[in-house]
Symmetry: C2
Amino acid sequence: MRIITINREFGSGGREVGKRLADALGFAYFDTEIVEAIAERSKVDPEYVHEVLERGVFNDISLTFAHSFTYAPHHHKSFAIMESQNEIVKELAAQGDCIIVGKNADTILKKEKPLKLFIHADMEYKIKRCMARAEEGEQLTEKQTKRKIKQIERARASDHSYYSEIRWGDKRGYDLCINTTGLEIKSVIPAIAEFAKAWFEKSHETEE
Amino acid sequence: MRIITINREFGSGGREVGKRLADALGFAYFDTEIVEAIAERSKVDPEYVHEVLERGVFNDISLTFAHSFTYAPHHHKSFAIMESQNEIVKELAAQGDCIIVGKNADTILKKEKPLKLFIHADMEYKIKRCMARAEEGEQLTEKQTKRKIKQIERARASDHSYYSEIRWGDKRGYDLCINTTGLEIKSVIPAIAEFAKAWFEKSHETEE
């Protein structure tokens, strides 16, 4: 089983890398499917799951604990989401070659030795990309976009710190860190696919 | 002119990446040639240049200042080496497509917009690699090798900090960070060459 996990800065094009790379390699691609599967299993609304994952599932649990000082029904939901996330990520990875974006898959699947990618870009580029891709009615100003990017990245970093000792985005935690600033993502997919193939071949060799 | 600069952790195989990548792309490769050219121009021994560069040329200047509190003949040498390094790196880069390993080329050539690579690996892997490649009579113990790696990397990081605001090895300062832990470097060269080609095409487009 060959698994690629992608962690990414918000607005860096990490999801586009994931989708295109999955196409190039013929791997399954999992992203929003996971949110829906978690929602179904935890018996909550997908939109709510999305929100919790965006805040970071661990952050959510510790925050709600800190605010209430008691074990509230709210925690049940967050724990259920976290447990479902762990289960579903493992189940999907067991099905076959795949790419998983976010969802702490790099640490949940540690034993499966995934190829770990981190996609990042300069703040200016991320702001431009976010603003160009915002849906109608959801347009933010440049300043608001920057704030949103920082907020989401802080949540991802914080959530990651519950799972791993290596900081989110620290190159030591990844096999390849790709800076997409000014890049047309499509143009570097063949190179990343080639890297992945060579990497998995080597990785299989060392296991034997 | 297409320029690739490589910064690397000691023992990560960065020089091997540089040499092989230069072969794959048909670029010139500069490394020890620079040391020799600096020696010739600064009228000092190549071995001495090598030592100063290993300690970090800026470190060397500030250290000798701090120790002597006066401007000694020693400083002349260090300054001459630094100036020669800057000149020679620029001259080589002006000659044609090339790859330069170390020598602060990423920051010296900032205006030329090089493709910036950083090569790193886990400490355990770097120690193994160093010990396997040590020449006869220069064998160090595991502990000594680790100390040497740390020492050299500290010097590189410190020297880099005089040239750039972004920390040495911070992924934000590079286009691609490659973790060579457990990899056979040869096997990923085609992928890196492919990435470089796509990157330069894009980079040329934006300049027009």
